[in-house]
Symmetry: C2
Subunit: 291 residues, 2 copies
């Protein structure tokens, strides 16, 4: 069993991005500039955005944080999105979700120019990815593929079972795993809450991507000997072992599943660290290529 | 075994659309208006467009056919698309594919306002369908779902195997069959040219959607007793039995597969007749709802 070290890979990719930025500077090319809009003071959102800004600094990107109080109107927010769409200095930007209830997240997402939508949530990016056109792929699916690639895990012709059909992970990662590319060319099955004989289906998989958000759902009896297991789950469960009072649990019962795997991602330290790296890669792409 | 009669269902749906149009007229509401752009004189394209125009007449739609010679420039074509985008009398329009090689089909498709893209080929419609937002679904996948619905074929929790991963059939129909809806909520697997153990996988399916374009590919030994088989294939093969010198062949070896099925679509007369109906439904939708 080999542990997929998301933290280590994230550091490698960040170093590569930093080198690309250094070369761009040397050649007098534009330095990538990411903007983030943060509404309110949600603890989780504050942390995520802070990590994203810090990651930008690490790789030499410029970054701009735009803050609004939770009572910002939808109009004000949309006006800011429009301003960023038209600001040639900003290569890509994100609006940190969730937004307060009085603001339509979908409306805000669709207001973003898809060519700057480095979160990859705009329907046009979702569609372009599905068709196989250049696009921004959302962070978690992109991070999963990067891990498979870096560990040179074969995917062509393999049975891949995705558990979960969310718009931000399950569906897009299924689409990527079946595309004519590497990683990809897999025979993909998507399982979900209505799936019958789930255990039977999952136990046929060479690659299992667990993305249902149910702590320790995947148990050893569901996993074929030698399978690759990617754990996307990150549920906070109460814990007396940590100072914060909670710890992150994946969708995989790691202790019993790991011994059966050829490769497995831990939680934390697996897919998680890759998501910010995906955002950086998208921002660099937005700077390099205009599609 | 019950034959799924696409021709009969298409007539039923057309009658429903005609009745809706009649009611709209009575209420002084706008009559749906479909425009079609046809470039050159390809025999197949001529026939398809003629059928579409005729179907519009049958249900009481207005229709406009815009013809160009094969040497039309991309700029001229794009200018016409732009004109139709801005013409409030036109509710939806299509550009009949294929286009001559000197014109980028993708560029033309993306130039169409997605709110008038009744073929459902624009990436934004592909993405909206994937996310579950209101959208125009392309004709063949929509037609398949309509058939499943009209025959009240259960799909929830069923194993559905799609053979073929094309952008216009395989991928979108897989997405629809896994969505939280009826028809949908199925456990979907997409197989393709790199799939290993295809026979084993397909023989587990409750619903098989064959869309690979390989005549008589699906044989009886691949089909579970009682399965539902949807045949999307329409390959022209030489034939001495017909005046034209060719006949349509599906992807299913009908004679040997049919006896094992609970439901099966024939070729011709199965999915085929539903595609024009889907186009009419999209055009009606474009007239009724502005999203």
């Amino acid at each position: 069993m080999q542990l997929i070290d998301g933290k280590a890979i994230a550091d490698v990719v960040k170093a590569e991005i930093a080198e690309t930025v250094r070369l761009r500077k040397e050649q007098g090319l534009k330095v990538p500039h990411l903007a983030a809009i943060l509404v309110g003071h949600d603890g989780g959102s504050e942390t995520y955005v802070a990590h994203k800004v810090k990651a930008c600094e690490q790789v030499g990107f410029e970054s701009t944080l735009i803050r609004f109080e939770a009572d910002v109107t939808e109009e004000e927010l949309l006006a800011t999105v429009e301003k960023l769409n038209n600001d040639s200095q900003i290569d890509g930007f994100i609006v940190q979700l969730p937004l307060p209830k009085h603001i339509s997240e979908q409306k805000v997402i669709e207001a973003i120019d898809y060519r700057k939508d480095v979160d990859g949530f705009h329907p046009i990016n979702v569609g372009r990815a599905s068709i196989g056109l250049p696009s921004f792929v959302s962070a978690t699916p992109a991070g999963i593929l990067e891990l498979l690639k870096r560990y040179e895990i074969p995917t062509k012709g393999k049975r891949c079972v995705v558990i979960g059909r969310s718009n931000i992970v399950g569906k897009p990662v299924a689409g990527l795993m079946m595309q004519k590319a590497y990683p990809g060319d897999a025979t993909v099955t998507v399982c979900h809450s209505h799936t019958e004989n789930l255990k039977e289906i999952v136990s046929q998989a060479d690659i299992i991507i667990a993305a249902l958000g149910s702590p320790e759902f995947l148990t050893a009896d569901m996993v074929k000997e030698g399978a690759v297991v990617i754990d996307v789950g990150t549920t906070r469960v109460p814990s007396s072992e940590t100072k914060s009072g909670w710890k992150l649990k994946g969708d995989v019962k790691f202790d019993e599943v790991a011994p059966k795997c050829s490769y497995i991602t831990p939680v934390p330290g697996g897919v998680g660290p890759m998501t910010i790296v995906s955002l950086l890669k998208n921002t660099l792409l937005a700077t390099e290529i205009k599609f």
